[in-house]
Symmetry: C2
Subunit: 337 residues, 2 copies
């Protein structure tokens, strides 16, 4: 029925040029008030809608940003996405979602794809297995703003938004100490990711500050899932001097730990304290609610978006901004003797 209305149609209807219409629509100061209002009125009357493709072609800007995460249906990441969307939508940007499935190759491919789609920026959390950083350099070479959130890689010219994982690890451990536990173990995940390493460092620092010995055997590497947490606890309990508490860098592993402890008749938190990390929704829904560290993911998403918006402002000034948000220790039942 209705064909698309262009500025040429409006121009024809008013006996002016498309240029005039364009200027009127863009509030160009060198247009008379009279024609401006006239154009605006007829534009409304004719149901004019700006063709974004033409604009994009001319300006080179798509008003889209790419967001790359391992999986979108992980609470942490979907909450970050929520924050990004809420911050960027009012500014006229759309958020394009991509998943890497923790696959380095897919990550490279995705980045290339987003560059092809000429997004105005890329916000992302790197995959676990990303080693090669060439694809990021492509992004920088194209002058496309790049912002890492949570999982970062050291790279000049890239801004990042993280939480203070060191402090998170420190506070979790400190809380266990103050709660009366003294032989505190640590379940870590993947030390090649800096977030887990920093949590580990926080753990060690807390031990040191409270004059507790650091015991290498108390540190177990696991995956971020329940089974792996169960295994980790089994291993820890086999030690001659078994620990009486654990700070886990993963909520899922912590859950596995709790389950295993309970099935062995060890009562949590009386005989064994547990603190997780991430504040996954399930941690508060358990009967024995789990203490954990909240990462403020929505806030992190919003902050990432803000950093992107700043970078977009002055393209010449390449600011490399490093924002570090504060984690929040959430004390629940699993660590309260």
């Amino acid at each position: 029925m209705k064909e698309k209305v262009t500025i040429y149609d409006i121009a024809k209807a008013l006996n002016v040029t498309a240029a005039t219409v364009s200027r009127a629509l863009n509030n160009n100061p060198k247009i008379s008030e009279a024609t401006r209002t006239l154009v605006l009125e007829t534009a409304k009357k004719m149901n004019y809608e700006q063709n974004k493709f033409a604009l994009a072609l001319k300006s080179g800007k798509s008003h889209n940003v790419g967001v790359v995460v391992p999986f979108v249906n992980r609470n942490f990441f979907s909450s970050i996405i929520r924050g990004i969307e809420e911050e960027l939508y009012p500014k006229g940007y759309h958020v394009i979602i991509c998943q890497t499935h923790e696959d380095a190759k897919k990550e490279e491919e995705t980045i290339q794809n987003l560059l092809n789609a000429q997004v105005d920026g890329i916000l992302m959390s790197v995959s676990k297995h990303t080693q090669n950083l060439k694809h990021f350099e492509k992004v920088l070479k194209k002058n496309t703003p790049l912002v890492f959130f949570d999982r970062v890689k050291p790279l000049k010219g890239v801004s990042s938004v993280t939480i203070d994982d060191f402090r998170g690890g420190y506070e979790a451990t400190e809380h266990l100490i103050k709660s009366g536990y003294s032989k505190i173990a640590h379940v870590t995940v993947d030390l090649s990711l800096s977030i887990y390493e920093r949590r580990f460092e926080g753990y060690r620092e807390a031990l040191k500050d409270y004059d507790l010995p650091y015991n290498e055997n108390y540190v177990v590497k696991a995956k971020s899932d329940i089974d792996s947490g169960e295994e980790a606890i089994k291993q820890l309990l086999k030690l001659k001097e078994a620990p009486d508490a654990v700070f886990s860098s993963s909520d899922f592993a912590a859950l596995g730990a709790i389950r295993q402890l309970q099935s062995l008749g060890i009562s949590v938190p009386q005989d064994f304290g547990v603190v997780g990390f991430s504040n996954e929704p399930f941690t508060q829904f358990m009967e024995l609610s789990m203490s954990t560290v909240d990462q403020a993911p929505v806030e992190m998403g919003k902050m990432s978006a803000k950093v992107f918006l700043e970078q977009i402002k002055d393209v010449k000034v390449k600011v490399e901004k490093k924002v570090e948000l504060s984690p929040e220790l959430i004390v629940r039942k699993s660590s309260l003797k």
Copy 2:
């Protein structure tokens, strides 16, 4: 450093026309094999990348689809998004995410916005408060494929992907009956949304099929949260003849119910059976794991994407496809006497 390479640059380098280059790149059959390979090689050598904006302007297709949900960080929706992304990404489509916050106005605005952005299709779940359907008609008038998932509105020309909520409600109730409960209540959410109404109908049908009386007082309206579930159970227990089981259309309300029951010393599942709906992740992580109905959200997302792809294929044939997936009853501890 590197300016953008266009087909004109390639053309100049080879002393041919941009038209020839374009045809070669697009595998147009009316080009000689020799020049085709030549063009492809130099294109690679010069690092040519197609400008999607120009293509979009010419073709009117953006290769973007809009996905609109109430919130992205709700497991059900983020899993659907995951499915959509996984299905569409290999086909060269990008997924644009928008949230409505369950706000009808924001939904209208968002739809308009996506149309402006000239997405090739819109996949969505309507907000709770959507009554007016005008904005959807705009979409149809523009011939943009529209696919509803889960929460649908009756609208000619719109495809939909849902699960068989009736069957879900039926099976949940039937399971409670077969487990030995006989006075089964129902906590519903918002009967203006068809999904909840159908679950309610399934509940009634199961009662009828098993010759159990339908008691109006056994049906309580709640919101989809814990507090509301607690309230609902309190109300039910006040009845002269209190129920001994409940099928809740919401996992969250079911959790509230369980908590309230336990705090009153009523043991689940011995004295009271509970079945939820949605298979939220936390339901399996509780010590007293919750029986629930799985909605296969990732599958739903993939199916929605497939329906969209079919619609895109022949634009002339306006197929209105209604796909109904099967829910899966998941029996856990909360309903096993």
